[in-house]
Amino acid sequence: MDAWLVAGVIIVSLLAALAIWVPTASDPESGSTRPLVQLPQATATAAAVPPARARDGGDSTDFQSLPDPRIASTLDDPGATFRSISAADGANNVVCGEVRGSGRFDYRRFVWIAEAQLLATDDGGPQFAHVAKLCDGSYDLQTAEFRTQF
């Protein structure tokens, strides 16, 4: 009798967990499936590729093609080129991509936050890796929470 009761509780729990999990996993706003902003074709293609460090070549984006001209203004480097640009939050408040500064040969990942107008570039350290979690949507700027990914 007890065994049947325990089995029943487990089955009900599994069904409830499945009911919660399915809509979350299919939510287009969640996790890595969240849409990117509409970008020019060349840029959008690059944005679909996970940004890599120290990767040369490929299409670059001029200042006019940036989703927000303030990104270039923040960097204060007229010779900088950008590529692999994406708006991580779908609203251009968090913009990620790669930047090559004047006099540099390599592109480095960057994260830009519109409401602070601040830009961080990848220094290879763990702190940037933490900040870069904004780019794949696994970190919520507003609540300082990590989003659970399924």
Binding site: R70, S73, T74, L75, D76, D77, D89, N93, I113, E115, A116, Q117, L118, L119, A120, T121, D123, G125, P126, Q127, F128, H130, V131, L134, Y139, L141, Q142, T143, A144, E145, F146
Partner: protein, 325 residues
């Protein structure tokens, strides 16, 4: 350098709290007598004016707030202000609430509209302008400003600018309040920063580092291993011990809560992702710090005494440190 302390938000998440929860409750009410005193508006009404001429090397005008009773009593201390990053001039409405609050407590507050204040140069320009302006007989501030008591405060990039202004002032600026000082990771360009050698070489002044528990990416309290100053703890530790220093985080505050007027919905610009409750919590102890450092209030200073001062038991604050004895 490796700080094991968990971020405040992460601890709460572990306990099952929602980080957005406090918006329904009264945000960051003051809990002790000093915080309560300085959280309230000061005794004076506040007047505002825009400088009749450019006040910095970039041609920006300055916003000036001062107490309406400035003609009475001794000359008033100065508070210079450094704005956070903006690609357009920063109007008076952006930081109006907190700067008016400081002025109500007797400070003459001057803020250039510059949106790139990180080097501190335009902040020092605003001080030069104030000296000239107060020297004119027709000025409402004529002979009413005490230039031996100067402090500086700033927000975000402006926190960098505030600290740099003090370090470059050759002792003229006595204290700094750095609100939401960004980790060095966010220094773009690289020299637009509070640089480690400059901070470690500081010989005079005092610094109060103020963060927010939800500002965990731009101005975090802790950091992963790095030689750079990427956290408020790291900045605090790098500040020479000969300087008076304190650090604390306003609970539930994000990078732009200080823009609240007083709440986030009333802020003069859209900061919906980086403002949680508003300016509550930012008024009390920062004003007390200024009252202590620039107006000589002994009771305000006692609030920052290491471990036993009121600052360390305030419910609206977290991760407090100080070397005040």
């Amino acid at each position: 350098m490796f700080h094991h302390k968990k971020p405040f938000a992460a601890i709460l998440i572990g306990l099952g709290f929602n980080a957005a929860a406090p918006s329904a409750a009264a945000p960051n009410e003051p809990t002790g007598p000093i915080e309560r005193k300085y959280d309230a508006s000061g005794p004076a009404d506040v007047r505002h004016m825009t400088s009749p001429a450019a006040c910095d090397r970039k041609g920006n005008p300055c916003e000036i707030w001062y107490p309406s009773d400035i003609r009475r009593g001794p000359p008033r201390a100065v508070l210079l202000w450094a704005n956070g990053t903006s690609d357009i001039p920063v109007g008076k409405e952006i930081y109006e609430h907190i700067l008016s609050h400081f002025a109500s407590w007797g400070f003459v507050v001057i803020a250039t509209r510059d949106g790139k204040t990180g080097y501190g140069d335009t902040v020092l320009d605003s001080l030069d302008y104030l000296r000239k302006f107060a020297a004119r007989p027709a000025s409402p501030l004529h002979r009413r400003v005490d230039f031996s008591r100067i402090g500086v405060a700033g927000h975000s990039q402006g926190a960098t600018g505030a600290a740099n202004a003090m370090l470059k002032s050759k002792g003229a600026i006595k204290t700094t309040i750095a609100f939401q000082l960004p980790a060095q990771l966010w220094c773009s360009p690289a020299d637009l920063c509070l640089l480690t050698p400059d901070l470690k070489a500081a010989k005079s002044g005092s610094i109060f580092y103020v963060g927010g528990t939800l500002d965990a990416l731009i101005s975090p309290d802790w950091q992963f291993g790095s030689d750079r100053l990427n956290s408020l703890n790291a900045y605090y530790e790098a500040t020479p011990s000969k300087l008076l220093k304190a650090k604390g985080l306003v609970k539930w505050a994000n990078h732009n809560d200080i823009l609240g007027k007083p709440d986030c919905r009333s802020a003069a610009q859209n900061v919906s992702s980086t403002c949680t409750s508003g300016v509550y919590g930012y008024r009390g102890f920062p004003t007390a710090w200024l009252a202590w450092q620039l107006q000589g209030s002994k009771e305000a200073g006692e609030a920052f005494q290491r471990k036993k001062g009121e600052f360390f038991t305030a419910k609206a604050w977290h991760s407090q440190l100080s070397n005040v004895r």
